[in-house]
Symmetry: D2
């Protein structure tokens, strides 16, 4: 599989404020490591679901969306996180998720995990709006993100 990402011209940008979805997550015993704090790969799992929750909020439920738009999904191209403040089991945190930028066939995601008013973890993602390549069914390629998808997040 090779992902072909289209030209990275931004369709949305800092001028168009995008929708933010917030969800509460309780840190569980099993999320934490022998240091007593969240084992950081767990943050990525929390962020992943925060994105699908963000899509669901605008009426795009993952498995329906895939069928409706003829895509295979939104594979991750790259993701990163910065860790400022650790959390431990029993903590209740808030994850704020937004899509700050849509490009032709990819989009960026920003997650901010808050402990009260403090930014504890920040996560970023680049994902592709991907369909099977009609010329090669073993490949997937980025296809244009429909305007009505983008409009839902404005």
């Amino acid at each position: 599989m090779i992902v072909e990402v289209g030209a990275a011209k931004s369709i949305t940008g800092p001028d168009s404020p995008m929708l933010t979805t917030t969800r509460e997550v309780t840190i569980e015993w099993g999320d934490c490591d022998p240091a007593g704090i969240v084992f950081y790969p767990r943050y990525f799992a929390m962020f992943d679901w925060s994105l699908w929750n963000h899509f669901a909020r605008v009426g795009l439920v993952k498995h329906e969306m895939v069928r409706q738009y003829g895509i295979v999904g939104c594979p991750m191209v790259d993701t990163g996180s910065r860790f400022m403040v650790p959390s431990k089991y029993g903590d209740v945190v808030r994850i704020e998720t937004t899509i700050p930028e849509f490009r032709r066939s990819s989009f960026r995601v920003l997650h901010r995990l808050m402990k009260g008013d403090t930014l504890a973890v920040e996560g970023t993602e680049t994902r592709v709006w991907a369909a099977k390549d009609p010329d090669n069914p073993d490949r997937i390629k980025g296809v244009p993100i429909p305007e009505d998808v983008i409009a839902r997040f404005r």
Copy 2:
């Protein structure tokens, strides 16, 4: 989905010694909880893969096997574990896996996680050899386990 398990008459039993596969697993930092020992759900994940490793050893690679025999898989009916000795990250343990009993359309699995000569965790499973119900494609049902599958484990 409802699983229909066939009559539980044992085809194999204590008289026919069955094949055992052993694999080594290193306990990782992320397998452990704030008490510094393996978070027990992780043992079930280790046991699950130990079973597919056991099948692979006799030439039955999971995704090929499913296609070859027209089944949907081997869904778990019940599983249990007893915990005698905890493990911590860095420990290298041995998991011994066997299928002590095949019935008509289900089979039992036994995992023994060893630390040196000590039995540390014991896991048991009952799984079904399951196919789509031809009368109702939304259901699956147990179907007879082919004799050539059983023969590979003797």
Copy 3:
């Protein structure tokens, strides 16, 4: 570490109805396996947190409780699950948790994962109320469960 469990005389029993705590869990994409359904070790992780949530509801927050009662925790002796109906991502399930029986130094836990009115997964646990063995600090042993702990669940 060897766990010494005290005599298994039941202190509570079928005659004394015990408190049940229910929590909602949304099945996430990352909880599911290539078959599209929950990877069963994840149910054990959900059940584990359901128990600490049950304790917290009666005022026993795990890390405080450990300090307050001078125990090292409640290590699992054995656990098992039966799987009746699978779940997939996006499903919202309910987990009902209760402690049907307290013995001198151990207790049983029952989890019922419900999809609507259907029992989808049932989990059981036996755990020990464990402290460091004063005769051997490398061992832990079951100690009597304080009556005021038991009383909170009636």
Copy 4:
């Protein structure tokens, strides 16, 4: 907790070739999601253990190292991954781990997950060599990485 990272002057650099440790990992059924490919947070868990394996190879076993050098550990400041080629269960991949740069009290880590000769996933980390702040035991701060630690990786 606030992490104070010391001045970011590089002690090692592109001129001093650093040790690389390679380990094989078999992708398991439970590592994969409903798309049939590795759920990406699992890569971070694999990379985390690859680092401790890299330390162990030069004689620095995590829990001993922490005691020996009086640190609390090597907390992550930031981490990122790029995903080029997906993997599915049964795949055997190779993870090559190196520490390309040591600074005064932090270091960078590079993981390259290979499928044959193809770079499938690349992960980067920045971690701090952290001890309790003597002025404030609730804080940790970066402390100088001992020269004999760095020397082991050359």
